[in-house]
């Protein structure tokens, strides 16, 4: 399953608010994709501290595509 948040036309802190709300209900194996025009370092701190992994890809139009998952249990 995958969920998408397009934060490119939202003013801060709306993208972060939506992402934090989505993380609250993100299930094991589910993926959350966030689209932004900047690197969300405050979000990365939250992800790092709370057991999420993410990949980041920069698209040609300057969009940062961030794909977030829960770290699988070891």
């Amino acid at each position: 399953m995958s969920r998408l948040i397009d934060g490119r036309e939202l003013q801060p802190p709306e993208p972060l608010e939506l992402t934090l709300n989505a993380l609250d209900t993100l299930a094991e194996g589910e993926e959350l994709t966030l689209l932004l025009y900047c690197q969300p370092h405050p979000l990365f701190s939250v992800l790092r501290q709370n057991g999420y992994v993410w990949t980041e890809a920069l698209q040609a139009d300057g969009t940062h595509e961030i794909r977030i998952r829960k770290t699988p249990p070891v």
Binding site: Q11, L20, N21, C38, H41, S45, G62
Partner: protein, 434 residues
């Protein structure tokens, strides 16, 4: 709230805010001082009164706001860890504050002891601040044009502080130094190597983020910082070589064209923003970039047409456009986005229930920002006319003092609202950090 999430310790809200809240009051003092001394003196940049005014703005207003912005920006936008931020802010801000006041007092009252004290305080503050920021900036894994610009800006700040302290000590102790040439080098490092470099680096990040514009072109972001740094270095070199007038003019023209390029690119991305929101930040940034274009135009005229360049009023207009039109406007606009955002971020980190979270737009009311922006624009216009109409000194000085006080009041209001919501969250029992 987000019960399953923990939030990394960021610099406390008070760390950048003590710089931000202090900054506008130097503008208030500068405006009142201008109203007191009158407009006849501004056409010579070498009078004690004018040096007091420029350093109240440069070492007071602008330096405070820019140091506060870096302290917040490096952890939040660049992922850098600032070493003991509360202690650093607690030491650096008073040093810069007292240093700027002593420096202005030393120039205005022609008191060598005040100049020597100011040189020590400002140098200690700047070296301490630069060392801590350099450590954070060189250790962060973040890369890219913003990071490069921030690193170059910190070098620019160090050189500015070193040269400034040398000049102030030199005046205080009667050293024999090439004062006019060294002053020009100090000025170009302050305005180009530090202030414009930092403005560009921060703009790459916050203009698209807060004004919903497309990103700056990648080639321009890669080019601007290094090119500006090389030109500032080259300017310093040719300034100290006797008889290098042609080279000096060439480097000056290149620097002004580069500044104009940055202004045009910012206006261009603003024009292509994805949501047509017009707010105080957007308009203040437009004012800053229009002022930067005027700086480039007037600067080129001064280089290419000797009669314009030799007129003290041209230099005074240029200085007012740079200090007030470009940097005070851009900082004013950025503060209206950065302060509500960091207030929101810190309240979020407390683990606030959603019902206790304020709307970010209510941290500083839009009407207060718009009103202050209009007064700042009026004050900028009056100040730009001042060298040509010295009788405007009282009204221009008072308008700038009032605008700065209004900005200060808006920022204090933001701190009060933050404290109110923080107390509500604590009362709700969801409190996480001290």
């Amino acid at each position: 709230m987000h019960p399953n999430l923990s939030f990394e310790q960021a610099p406390p809200f008070s760390v950048p805010m003590r710089f931000f809240v202090a900054a506008p009051w130097f503008g208030v003092v500068a405006g009142l001082l201008l109203a007191y001394i009158g407009g006849e003196v501004v056409s010579s940049r070498w009078t004690g009164e004018v040096l007091a005014l420029t350093h109240l703005l440069g070492a007071g207003f602008l330096l405070h706001a820019m140091c506060g912005a870096l302290l917040q920006f490096v952890p939040v936008a660049a992922g850098g860890n600032v070493w003991r931020p509360r202690m650093v802010a607690g030491v650096v801000q008073p040093l810069l504050g007292f240093g700027a006041l002593m420096l202005a007092g030393g120039f205005f009252l022609a008191k060598p002891a005040l100049l020597a004290g100011a040189a020590t305080a400002l140098l200690l503050g700047i070296v301490g601040f630069s060392a801590v920021m350099a450590l954070a900036l060189w250790r962060t894994p973040a890369t890219g044009s913003t990071m490069l610009a921030l690193r170059l800006a910190v070098i620019g700040l160090l050189v500015t502080g070193g040269l400034g302290a040398t000049l102030a000590e030199g005046i205080a102790r009667g050293w024999s130094l090439p004062f006019p040439a060294l002053t020009d080098v100090h000025l170009v490092w302050a305005l180009g190597g530090w202030a414009l470099m930092l403005l560009a680096g921060v703009s790459y990040y916050v203009v698209p983020m807060f004004q919903l514009t497309p990103p700056y072109p990648a080639w321009a972001m890669r080019l601007f910082g290094p090119a500006l740094f090389v030109l500032v270095l080259a300017w310093s070199g040719v300034q100290l070589i006797a008889g290098a007038e042609f080279l000096r003019r060439g480097v000056g023209v290149a620097g002004l064209l580069l500044a104009a390029l940055f202004a045009l690119l910012t206006l261009s991305v603003q024009a292509r923003r994805r949501r047509r929101l017009i707010d105080a930040t957007f308009l203040l940034f437009r004012l800053a970039m229009a002022s930067l274009l005027c700086v480039a135009g007037l600067g080129l005229l001064m280089i290419l047409v000797p009669v314009v360049g030799e007129d003290g009023r041209s230099g005074a207009t240029l200085g007012i456009l740079i200090f007030v039109g470009v940097f005070a406007s851009a900082i004013n606009g950025m503060l209206y986005k950065i302060v509500p955002f960091i207030a929101w971020l810190h309240l979020q980190r407390l683990g606030a229930p959603l019902t206790a979270m304020p709307n970010m737009k209510n941290i500083i009311p839009a009407t207060a920002m718009t009103g202050q922006m209009r007064l700042h624009t009026l004050a900028t216009g009056l100040l730009v006319l001042l060298p040509w109409l010295p009788a405007l000194a009282v009204i221009a000085g008072l308008a700038f003092a009032a605008s700065s006080a209004w900005l200060g009041g808006n920022l204090i209001g933001a701190v009060r609202r933050y404290a109110m919501f923080r107390d509500r969250i604590r009362a709700a029992g969801a409190y996480r950090e001290s």
